[in-house]
């Protein structure tokens, strides 16, 4: 395994030194490209108060390709499927090397605040979100309470 690129080192250092409020990303002990991430549910969102665990992996050609991010904590969100995969453009085709771990995680946090049922990944959730938003939000709150708060 080749040594860690300087950029990853720098980013990690900065993440540790100047953590983003509401986000913590800690590199794995055995693999510096693997991060244990915890994102707090944004205020004024159905996910408020929840602590969502994610895993983030920086691929070999990072920053030229996007990091792989996945929710570990179950979450009721139209853009996040049951496996925790996230539908986010910057993680796909809109990735830019100028983005960083911190920006990605901020984007994810923002995604929690502003679900986008028009570009769904979990179709049933998106459907409910579109048809009956209040119920969907209630579900989301329920899930958050159930899965993201008991720890």
């Amino acid at each position: 395994m080749a040594a860690l690129p300087r950029r990853i080192i720098k980013e990690t250092q900065r993440l540790m030194q100047e953590p983003v409020p509401g986000i913590s990303a800690i590199p794995d002990e055995s693999n510096a490209r693997y991060f244990h991430v915890i994102v707090t549910g944004p205020e004024d969102s159905p996910f408020e108060g929840g602590l969502f665990k994610l895993e983030l992996f920086l691929p070999e050609d990072y920053p030229m390709s996007a990091p792989k991010v996945r929710f570990i904590t179950k979450i009721y969100h139209p853009n996040i499927d049951r496996l925790g995969r996230i539908c986010l453009d910057i993680l796909k085709d809109k990735w830019s090397p100028a983005l960083q771990i911190r920006t990605v995680l901020l984007s994810i946090q923002a995604l929690l605040s502003a679900p986008n049922p028009d570009d769904p990944l979990a179709n049933d959730v998106a459907e409910l979100w579109k048809v009956n938003e209040s119920e969907a939000i209630r579900n989301a709150k329920e899930w958050t309470r159930r899965y993201a708060m008991d720890t």
Binding site: A2, A3, R6, P63
Partner: protein, 1258 residues
């Protein structure tokens, strides 16, 4: 400021911009690797990471984007303001790391000689450090050897001091005794003279007084008579007159009768000396010589100096896997590196040197220059300093990143100056080990500086905090010294950069320029302080430096060699001096010998000299006694001959010298026929010589037989040369008593007949010499047990011989006889001159009053030869002669001599018996004569060698061998010297026919077929001599005809296959068609049981020799499996074995065993007595690491598969190194795990290349 920083940071790499490129969207990114990584090569466009704008890439690629000059200015400004260090990588171009393939700023890694990134380099440096510490541990473990040597040296110093003291006392004592005796005698003689004088004087005065009185009395009487008788007076009456008359008559009578006994009193005193005064003076003048005992190491005298006696192999290469690793690496690189790069790798780099690869023609040229010079230097070095490599090994241990061995150090001379300077740790002002040339690191200014910096390193870090984080080279895990080195270097660079700030427009060229002078400057200053002469610039300094180093090295390495040589010089001087004291110079001796020859019996210059000294006298007798004296007093080895010689003295007078009749001898047995043919062949040659001797009193017989012996070519001592017939008689006598064999009784009859028929005498004597020699020798030896054993041998031989005779046709014999004549001719050429070297020293020794006890004669000779040899140019000869001459213990020499002489099947054995100087001495003799050596007289010498080492005359094939040599002449040596090119190879991995899985044993069948023990396929495969598959037999199992990892294979004379079935712990025998005949043995350690039998072989008589590996012994069986004997036990002493692997028997019944874990080859006789051994652990010439396969060809040359070194070594029959070839690898002529070897009658060498699963034929 924070934001300012951020503005100067590339969004992609988050680092300070490096060569920022401005995209059309006005965003800037580093060119490499950031922008490069963004390129979409398919669409030839780049997408701005910031604004996602897509831009077409210019034709030249991303560097076609304009550089953001403003940003660059800002960067510079920022650097100026903050004082931070500039990016060390600026101006460099990123490349792919050759190890991890990451794109990075790569630099040369001197560990793997590739351009690698920092991380890989760090890892490699870590490896190096680990290696160094490991090697350091080895050194620590091995240093005791040097310390042992040190204590040994101290002990030796003491012992030499005490020795010299005691010898000095001895000399003093003798001096006292001699002077006391001289004084006593002188006093006594003086007293006697005085007494004599006194008595004589007394009697003389007495006489004088009496006489005077008489005279006066008579005169008065006369006067009285005159006065009174004439006057006629009658004073006197008649009575008185009568009385007077009576008185006067008496007086007359008295006067008449008186006669003075003149002679009585004029006796002269003469000093009569018991000895000739001149001789006496000479005796006293040379009343003693200092005899320096010859060291008894058969090998590498100089290297042996370093070896503590009990100390094991110590620091050997085998223990450093590093060695293997580097070898592997070397091979690998050779595989896909360019040749010239390889060259630089091995040649150019020295300890710590880091040279810039500027590329281009100039370095290339240098490389070539260096490369071409190398061979020369190597050659030179190997010639002059055979022990070199030993030290270079140490050196290499010190500098493990060097892949090359000796080359590395030898190439210094051809280094360009720059490289010379960059040799950081090894400057010329460093203290060096005088023996090894190892520099003392602590003395190296660079190292000192490093250490100093290391101590103040923390301070420094504080001093330059901004710089450090930027330094990519500083890896935290790195131990201090290299890290600080980096720092220091970069500090300097930075300083210089600051100085040249104006010029540092991040231009690559300027960087290079600034970087380069730094080390130079440093070194220059160092030099100035230390060696002013070296400080001068230009070629001169280069030369001086290199020459300095060269000389240092030379002295370092040659010192040991010279210590080895020094005694030889001494000896040489001694030898040289001795003749000078005599009236005969050594150069005259050839003429001298010829004069002797004309006198008849004596052939030695000694005798001539003695004759000179004794001034005549009955020449032959006296000189005989003297020569006997000399031989007795001078030489331990020759003492055994005393009885013979004394007998000779008795008998010589009675030996009539008529010429021999050949016709009579036709009636002899076949063996006699042999001799006869030789005799005939010798005849014409000898006649030429015998003409000279025709007049001699002892006669042509002696001359001729002596000559015949001469022509047999053995460098026998002249002292014993004189009396062949008598000697045989003597020997014969002893034989008669001790050996009851039929053969000898028959000989006895012959002998009796000879006594009756003196004409035949000469012939028979020679015959007797020959046929009996082997048996005749033993009685001379100290241990008589040997004798009986050899007698047994003798008994065995006749049958073998008859078989041989049946096998061989007459033509061969003809050839042989012709060849033996050739022998004679060749030997004649140098024989006459040989006495020179032998005799002066011998004579000198003979004059020594017994104080020079043992082998001073030998010593002098061998030493002188040694000295001469050291002048000699051919390296292989030097090693050989070293062994021949100086290093051979007298015992070993004796053995060698004995065997050597038994071999030829000629009357040279008489030499062996009569004189203990061996065939080797003939070499040394030649050497000491200053004759052109082997290199030039190759024919004669190789001949010599092979002759010496031939098998006993009684072995069936010996005669053939002799014939073979004579016919082929230089055949084996030159042929083996040319070996290294693979002729062909058989097989690859697999279990099909013609494929192998770990072939182990190989053997050659009587029809030259190649028999391979395909070990892990549990079968035997047979190929014809061209490698075409013929047949296979056997399969896995433990039943009849089944194998379990068979190892050794042998084929006996009748084509039966004898297989060491290793894991079944048994031997199986198959008939020539591969059908099972029988098996014997089972697991165990009792007689006839085995523990992993490995190598196997069979001799001419069908005896089976098995290397019983885990029982550490060799067992011998009859061909039907009956246990005959065993020898060897676990251990490393002489005659002991540790994991003997392979075995081979020469046609002279020398049993060659690869004593694998003792890293040596031992040669036994058929009864398990060690004849000789050679080899130590190591990878130099003649050293082994776990030797495995051994093979002996029919001329006695020994081929050894040196498995640990992955090479084949070939040795002369006497165990001196001849040639080595092969290395680790899979290519042609490369080996991986050697196993058995075999030699075909036509000189091919078959090698089992185990891990390559093939047989290679050379």
């Amino acid at each position: 400021m924070e934001q300012f920083e951020q503005l100067l940071t590339c969004a992609i790499c988050l680092d300070r911009y490096r060569n920022p490129k401005l995209l059309p969207c006005q965003h800037s990114f580093c060119m490499e690797p950031c922008l490069e990584g963004l390129v979409d090569y398919v669409r030839r466009q780049v997408k701005c990471p910031e604004c996602r704008a897509e831009h077409r890439i210019p034709y030249q690629g991303v560097q076609g984007f304009p550089t953001n000059v403003t940003l660059q200015r800002f960067l510079e400004l920022h650097i100026e303001i903050t004082g931070e260090l500039p990016d060390p990588n600026s101006g460099q171009v990123m490349e792919r790391c050759n190890v991890c393939s990451e794109k990075a700023y790569c630099s040369m890694c001197y560990h793997c000689d590739k351009k690698v990134c920092e991380d890989c380099k760090g890892a490699h440096m870590e490896i190096l450090r680990r290696e160094i510490s490991r090697i350091n541990n080895q050194i620590r473990r091995g240093i005791h050897r040097l310390q042992d040597s040190l204590s040994l040296i101290e002990k030796n110093t003491q012992s030499i001091q005490t020795n010299c003291l005691s010898v000095g006392e001895e000399v003093e004592e003798i001096y006292r005794r001699l002077s006391k005796a001289l004084k006593d005698r002188t006093d006594y003689l003086r007293g006697e003279i005085d007494r004599y004088l006194g008595t004589e004087l007394r009697s003389l005065t007495n006489l004088k007084d009496n006489l005077e009185q008489e005279v006066s009395n008579i005169l008065s009487n006369c006067d009285l008579a005159d006065k009174f008788m004439s006057e006629n007076t009658d004073i006197w009456d008649d009575c008185e007159l009568m009385d007077a008359k009576e008185i006067f008559l008496k007086t007359v009578d008295f006067i008449r009768n008186f006669e003075y006994e003149n002679t009585d009193y004029s006796r002269k005193v003469r000093l009569v000396l018991a000895h000739d005064p001149n001789q006496l003076v000479l005796h006293v003048a040379g009343f003693g010589d200092l005899n320096i005992a010859t060291p008894s190491h058969p090998f590498g005298q100089s290297s042996a100096l370093l070896q503590p006696p009990g100390g094991g192999p110590g620091l050997m290469r085998s223990k450093s896997d590093h060695r293997l690793a580097s070898q592997f690496r070397q091979n690998e690189e050779r595989g896909y590196g360019e040749r010239d790069q390889d060259e630089t790798l091995h040649s150019g780099r020295k300890f710590g040197e880091r040279h810039q690869r500027t590329g281009g023609e100039s370095t290339r040229y240098d490389r070539y220059g260096r490369g071409s010079g190398n061979d020369y230097v190597d050659e030179y070095e190997s010639e002059t300093r055979p022990t070199r490599s030993r030290y270079s090994r140490f050196r290499r241990h010190n500098a493990p990143e060097n892949d090359s061995d000796t080359e590395q150090s030898s190439r210094v001379r051809f280094q360009e100056q720059k490289a010379e300077r960059e040799r950081v740790l090894d400057t010329e002002d460093v203290a060096r080990g005088p023996l090894s040339g190892i520099t003392r690191l602590a003395d190296s200014p660079r190292v000192m500086k490093k250490l100093q910096e290391n101590e103040s390193g923390k301070k420094k870090e504080k001093e330059a905090p901004p710089s450090l984080p930027v330094q990519p080279k500083i890896v935290p895990k790195r131990p201090p010294p290299p890290a600080t080195r980096q720092v220091s270097e970069e500090d300097e660079i930075s300083k210089i950069k600051k100085q040249n700030k104006g010029a540092t427009t991040s231009n690559s060229e300027t960087d290079r320029v600034t970087e380069r002078p730094t080390p130079d400057d440093r070194h220059n200053t160092q030099r100035k302080t230390t060696t002013p002469e070296a400080a001068s610039d230009g070629e001169e300094s280069e030369e001086s430096v290199s020459s300095l180093q060269q000389t240092q090295r030379k002295t370092a390495s040659s010192k040991t060699a010279s210590t080895g040589r020094r005694p030889s010089d001494l000896g040489h001087k001694k030898a040289g001096r001795s003749p000078s004291t005599e009236s005969t110079a050594s150069s005259e001796s050839s003429t001298a010998s010829s004069t002797i020859r004309s006198t008849g019996a004596p052939f030695t210059t000694e005798e001539v000299k003695q004759k000179f000294l004794s001034r005549g006298g009955s020449a032959s007798n006296e000189s005989d006694t003297r020569s006997r004296l000399s031989s007795v007093s001078s030489n331990k080895e020759s003492t055994p001959h005393k009885p013979f010689q004394s007998r000779f003295l008795n008998k010589t007078p009675s030996t009539p010298p008529p010429p021999s009749k050949e016709e009579d001898e036709e009636t002899e047995t076949t063996s006699e026929e042999e001799t006869e043919s030789e005799e005939e062949s010798d005849e014409p040659v000898s006649k030429v010589e015998s003409k000279e001797m025709a007049k001699s009193d002892i006669g042509p017989l002696l001359a001729r037989s002596a000559h015949a012996r001469e022509s047999s070519g053995d460098g026998s001592r002249r002292t014993s040369r004189e009396e062949p017939p008598s000697m045989t008689k003597a020997r014969y006598g002893s034989q008669k008593e001790e050996s009851p064999s039929n053969r000898y009784t028959r000989n006895k009859a012959v002998y009796k007949a000879n006594e009756e028929e003196p004409q035949r005498y000469s012939y028979t004597s020679r015959f007797l010499n020959k046929s009996k020699s082997s048996a005749a020798i033993p009685p001379e030896e100290d241990d008589h047990s040997r004798y009986s054993s050899l007698g047994d041998d003798e008994n065995k031989y006749p049958s073998g011989r008859s078989r041989y005779m049946a096998l061989k046709d007459r033509r061969q014999r003809l050839a042989r006889s012709r060849s033996s004549q050739q022998f004679g001719d060749e030997e004649d050429a140098d024989e006459p001159m040989s006495p020179t070297s032998v005799n002066p020293s011998a004579y000198l020794a003979s004059r020594g009053y017994g104080s020079t006890t043992s082998s001073s004669n030998d010593l002098a000779r061998s030493r002188s030869s040694h000295a001469l040899k050291s002048r000699d140019n051919s390296p292989d000869r030097s090693t050989a002669t070293e062994k021949d001459g100086a290093a051979l213990s007298s015992w070993a020499r004796y053995l060698k001599n004995k065997y050597g002489n038994r071999t030829g099947g000629k009357d040279k054995d008489s030499n062996a018996a009569s004189s203990t100087t061996s065939g080797s001495s003939s070499t040394s003799r030649r050497l000491s004569l200053g004759l052109p050596l082997r290199s030039s007289t190759d024919l004669a010498s190789s001949d010599d060698d092979s002759k010496n080492m031939q098998g006993s005359p009684t072995t069936p094939t010996a005669a053939t061998a002799a014939a073979g040599i004579a016919v082929a002449g230089t055949f084996p040596r030159s042929q083996y010297l040319q070996k290294c090119q693979q002729l062909f190879q058989i097989g690859s991995r697999g279990s099909e026919t013609g494929c192998f899985t770990w072939p182990r044993g190989v053997a050659v069948g009587p029809d030259n077929s190649i028999v391979v023990a395909d070990s892990s396929n549990h079968r035997v495969q047979v190929f014809d001599s061209n490698g075409r598959f013929l047949k296979e037999f056997g399969q896995y199992g433990n039943g009849e005809g089944e194998f379990d990892c068979l190892a050794g294979v042998a084929v006996n004379r009748i084509g039966q296959f004898i297989i060491a079935d290793r894991y079944n712990h048994r031997i199986q025998v198959f008939d020539p068609s591969g059908r099972f005949l029988r098996s014997f043995g089972s697991q165990g350690s009792a007689d006839g049981r085995f523990n992993y039998p490995w190598g196997i072989t069979t001799d001419a008589l069908g005896f089976i020799y098995v290397c019983d590996k885990e029982n550490h012994r060799v067992q011998v069986f009859q061909s039907d499996g009956t246990f005959v004997g065993k020898f060897g036990s676990m251990g490393s002493k002489e005659g002991q074995l540790e994991h003997p692997h392979y075995i081979s028997v020469s046609n002279t019944n020398r049993v060659v065993v690869s004593d694998s874990n003792n890293h040596r080859i031992q040669i036994f006789d058929v009864n398990g007595k060690v004849i000789t051994q050679f080899g130590t652990e190591g990878s130099d010439e003649g050293q082994f690491k776990f030797p495995r396969g051994v093979a002996v060809d029919d001329q006695g040359y020994i081929c050894v598969a040196d498995s640990g070194n992955n090479r084949i070594q070939i040795f002369h029959p006497d165990g001196t190194f001849l040639r080595a070839f092969g290395c680790w690898g899979t290519g042609k002529g490369e080996f991986k795990g050697l196993e058995g070897v075999a030699m075909t009658p036509n000189g091919h060498i078959l090698v089992c290349d185990r891990e390559n699963h093939r047989i290679q034929v050379f």
